[in-house]
């Protein structure tokens, strides 16, 4: 009986799809003539303007996705959920921080022609497989946290038109960190640790390369695994080369464990610790304790005294509750606002309220964005889609205040 039910059900589904394929007639033509090279999105009166997210909202990296998604929701709520008199519809896909996840999400989003733009992805591996599809479909995608250099390298097959990011390219962040270490802190020997994530591996590689170029010595390039707890051995190995600074651009909780363990390993008592935006989270100094005092973090430049950022945190507490779970919410907030502003700028509003959004014009508007004052500083997009250059990065130093719960820390240095 049950086998038959399953069979019956599948026949029904297939039959209904076949029926659906046969029936029906064409819709009416719009009055607006679309002259855009890659087409337009037409939003009828009363219909929503559709944007989407492609973020990693499940699995161990879900705090990244939740962080970005909350910011997108706040940015939409800031406009009362409306744009050009139309409600904003936000739909989303989970990308799982993997290439497969990115491809599946990219396929689904690219199949929906009502989508104007996408905020995402979180991980660079997702963007590699999602972006060809999204670019092909004529949409734009703005990533709050992809940092891999390939994605905006015009000579690389993984860079596609319509891709932007508000996160800083590894080439940039790695260079800034190395220059800071060499020039500002005056250290001459460093060791690096990565956690096997493409992000950390690439960032530490750039750091080590630039540091060596500047004339410094890289004593060791070590690695741990995500989920490791026992950091003693790897730090002991590093201590054998007695570096002055350890650069570990990794995530919580492994980063916390490295920081706190480093003070207990003989030979590393006075070592300078430096990490990147993966550890730029309020739980980090708390969980690391006194070992975090004096540690440097490179991260998105967010001025504590910036009233807008304070307001943002307040909105988060009201609308979503608590504090943002990771470090890229400001990027996602800026990305969403950039997208919505650009839509507003290029949209052609008809007399009856119909909105037409030309896709190529939207891309051009974003490529031409300059000096947008966002939460992460002044954003200017270059021809490859990198929007966070220049002053969007800062180096922060943690003190006892952050360990006791203050967040974010004051900016220590800016390039």
């Amino acid at each position: 009986m049950n086998k038959r039910l399953i069979a019956l059900f599948s026949v029904l589904v297939i039959a209904s799809m076949a029926l659906a394929a046969c029936g029906g007639a064409g819709g009416g033509a719009a009055a607006y003539e679309c002259t855009d090279a890659i087409g337009c999105v037409t939003v009828a009166p009363g219909d929503p303007i559709h944007i989407a997210y492609a973020l990693t909202v499940s699995g161990p990296t879900s705090s990244l996705g939740e962080d970005s998604r909350g910011a997108i929701e706040i940015a939409i709520a800031d406009r009362g959920g409306e744009l050009l008199g139309h409600p904003i519809e936000l739909s989303g896909e989970d990308t799982l921080c993997s290439a497969e996840g990115g491809q599946a999400a990219g396929t689904k989003l690219s199949a929906d022609a009502t989508i104007v733009g996408v905020i995402g992805t979180n991980c660079s591996s997702e963007a590699r497989s999602a972006m060809p599809l999204i670019s092909q479909a004529g949409m734009v995608m703005i990533s709050p946290s992809n940092t891999n250099p390939d994605l905006t390298n015009p000579d690389h097959p993984d860079s596609h038109p319509g891709y932007f990011r508000t996160a800083h390219n590894d080439l940039f962040q790695g260079r800034v960190a190395a220059e800071f270490a060499y020039n500002e802190l005056g250290v001459r020997s460093v060791a690096t640790i990565h956690d096997g994530s493409p992000y950390a591996e690439s960032l530490q590689a750039v750091f080590a390369e630039v540091f060596a170029e500047l004339g410094g010595t890289v004593t060791a390039q070590e690695a741990i695994n995500v989920g490791d707890t026992d950091m003693g051995p790897v730090l002991t190995t590093i201590a054998a080369g007695s570096p002055e600074l350890i650069y570990f651009p990794i995530f919580e909780p492994e980063g916390n464990l490295i920081a706190s363990k480093s003070k207990e390993v003989s030979g590393l008592e006075d070592v300078i610790l430096m990490a990147a935006d993966g550890l730029f989270a309020d739980t980090m100094p708390e969980a690391t304790g006194s070992a975090a005092v004096g540690m440097y973090l490179s991260g998105p430049y967010v001025d504590v005294n910036n009233a807008a950022y304070g307001e943002f945190l307040q909105k988060w507490a009201d609308q979503i509750g608590g504090v943002p779970p990771s470090g890229f919410h400001a990027h996602a907030y800026d990305a969403t606002n950039m997208l919505l502003n650009a839509i507003e700028a290029v949209a052609v509003v008809g007399e009856d309220g119909t909105v037409n959004i030309p896709r190529q014009a939207l891309r051009d508007a974003l490529y031409g964005l300059s000096g947008y004052a966002g939460l992460t500083g002044n954003l200017t997009c270059d021809a490859n889609g990198d929007c966070a250059t220049g002053e969007a990065l800062g180096v922060f130093q943690l003190s006892q205040a952050e360990v006791d719960g203050a967040w974010p820390p004051p900016v220590f240095w800016q390039p």
């Binding site: 409600p87 921080c97 290439a99 599946a104 096997g196």
Partner: protein, 563 residues
């Protein structure tokens, strides 16, 4: 039998309390709030409320089943519903008066607004209590209706919920099919929250329910008519059926559109792996938790042989079709090499060691040690798509045929192997190794052949994955894949080939379709596995012998043999 005519208070209250706890859990894990953003029936009922109401409906149904007369049944389900509603009101009051969000992140003001229908605490609570109690009673009503009608109604309701859930995908697919979307526009609601429209929901419900009832009445007649037909007519009918299936399989990508084809492709890759693991676990009884290793080896072999990135120490740039047989051969060898150490191990030892192999392969792929040769954590990028007779297989719709070809090949091989001498040796070994050996079966060869065949299928799946993605990362080969494939063949029915397809659709296809509800996907997946193992441990489409074992004590009516 003195309790015959007494009201079973205990069960009614107990079920109400259980339903209440489930309801609180659904609310506090955030499902009510997240799913409130989606309507099942536009403007009438959201997905969040659907979950709560289904909970109380089911509780009411079971509450009624413990009573002896219809009056008792209805009142018991009413009491169950009432208790559920009181517990939910209590939750609303608690959340309203204490700020719990530091601990329970989803105990938000928004939750109360949803629970009280935006009417505030006193008024909204009354509607909450009334509505959930009514649904409890409806559960009881469902219990007392005759079983044929009940089945039809449940099917109708499930289809409505399913269509409402998948509304956006259906809409997008229809939009790709020319005018179909405007022809069926009346079925769906409009706007950000849309699900089915109210008319659409009613029509779907009535059509499904009625056709199910009609089918129930007429099916025996049709069956007997078919059986009465002369043999050659029956055969031609069957040929017609197969022809139809082949036609549908060939035209599926055009029908389904971009995204649904992608879902089919992902499911296909899992089915391919499932067919392989089915040989290892289902036929030969060797519990393998590291099956992902061969998937990884297949993918990496193709990556290294064909990539054009120039970042690896070797730059071969082979053609995919040239690399394919080499990769499969490598996987078979890997199957044998990893099979040898575990020849003597059984059961759970085998499980942990194979799990270890899976992890070893993943970590080696990730390591800086092998980075120059296989890319380390940056993976292998720029793997070209294969070309077949001038067609570049880089889109879901073209890759589909490659995957279907792979699945058909694997299906054919498994079916032939199952009925062969080797297949019988596998089954004998599964039942009892020592006896099998005593019967003259060479355990070493038999086991290694099982591992090798399984590895070949998994490797094939991996090679296709690599060209499908164009980039591969070590993170794609996590333990979770092995677990998913194992769950898939068990949910489908261990050792059963059609079961692999059913399991694949359920555990790889459905999660892919419900990607939107990602945060709760694994939660539902977990709950589904637990419930499934309680209700139908033999799987949805069990192999006959296996089913008999599980229901040894029950009488099984003789069934006609189906292939």
């Amino acid at each position: 039998m003195s309790t015959q005519n007494q009201f079973n208070w205990k069960k009614a209250i107990q079920l109400g309390a259980i339903a209440g706890i489930v309801g609180i859990l659904i609310a506090l894990v955030g499902m009510v709030e997240t799913f409130d953003k989606r309507d099942i029936v536009a403007g009438a009922i959201s997905m969040g409320w659907t979950m709560l109401l289904l909970t109380v409906l089911v509780a009411g149904y079971f509450s009624a089943s413990h009573q002896t007369s219809n009056l008792f049944r209805l009142s018991a389900s009413g009491i169950t519903g009432l208790i559920f509603s009181l517990i939910m009101s209590l939750l609303a009051l608690l959340v309203e008066n204490f700020d719990l969000r530091q601990t329970l992140v989803n105990a938000s003001p928004q939750l109360i607004r949803i629970l009280t229908f935006e009417n505030g605490i006193p008024n909204g609570l009354i509607s909450l209590i009334a509505i959930t109690t009514i649904f409890g009673i409806l559960g009881g009503v469902l219990y007392v209706t005759p079983s044929k009608i009940r089945k039809a109604i449940s099917l109708g309701l499930s289809i409505v919920v399913l269509l409402g859930l998948l509304e956006d995908i259906i809409q997008v697919t229809l939009a790709g099919l020319g005018g179909a979307s405007s022809a069926l526009a009346w079925m769906f609601g409009r706007g950000a929250q849309s699900g089915l429209s109210i008319t659409g929901a009613i029509v779907v419900f009535v059509v499904v329910t009625a056709s199910n009832l009609l089918w129930d009445v007429n099916a025996p007649k049709i069956n007997s008519q078919v059986e009465k037909m002369p043999a050659n007519r029956q055969r031609s009918l069957r040929v017609l059926g197969y022809g139809l299936i082949i036609l549908v399989v060939l035209y599926l990508p055009t029908l389904l559109g971009l995204y649904l084809t992608e879902v089919v492709n992902v499911t296909g890759l899992f089915i391919l792996m499932g067919l392989g693991l089915n040989i290892v676990v289902g036929f030969a009884g060797l519990l393998d938790l590291g099956y992902v290793a061969f998937y990884a080896i297949g993918a990496y072999a193709v990556g290294v042989l064909t990539t054009l990135s120039g970042e690896l120490s070797t730059s071969l740039g082979w053609n995919f079709w040239l690399a394919l047989p080499v990769c499969i051969f490598l996987c078979v060898m890997a199957g044998v090499v990893l099979g040898i150490p575990v020849l003597n191990m059984r059961g759970d030892y085998l499980a942990i060691v194979t799990l270890g192999f899976g992890e070893i392969i993943r970590i080696l792929a990730l390591s800086d040690f092998l980075k120059p040769h296989i890319g380390g954590s940056q993976g292998i990028v720029n793997i070209p798509a294969p070309e077949f007779l001038g067609v570049l297989l880089n889109k879901p719709q073209t890759l589909y045929y490659l995957i279907v070809a792979g699945c058909i090949l694997a299906l054919f091989i498994s079916q032939r192997l199952r009925d062969s001498r080797l297949g019988r040796s596998w089954k004998a070994m599964r039942e009892d190794e020592d006896v099998a050996q005593a019967m003259g079966i060479n355990l070493v060869a038999t086991k290694l052949l099982a591992f090798a065949t399984g590895a070949a299928f998994s490797g094939l799946s991996g090679t296709i994955l690599a060209v499908k993605l164009g980039t591969i990362y070590p993170h794609s080969f996590a333990l979770l894949i092995s677990i998913n494939v194992l769950s898939l063949i068990i949910v489908g029915g261990m050792g059963s080939i059609p079961g692999v397809f059913v399991g694949g659709l359920l555990l790889a296809g459905m999660p892919e379709l419900l990607r939107e509800f990602a945060e709760y996907r694994l939660l539902i997946y977990g709950a589904l596995l637990v419930v499934m193992m309680q209700v139908r441990p033999e799987g949805f489409w069990p192999e006959e012998t296996h089913k008999r074992e599980l229901h040894e004590n029950e009488h099984i009516p003789a069934q006609e043999a189906t292939s």
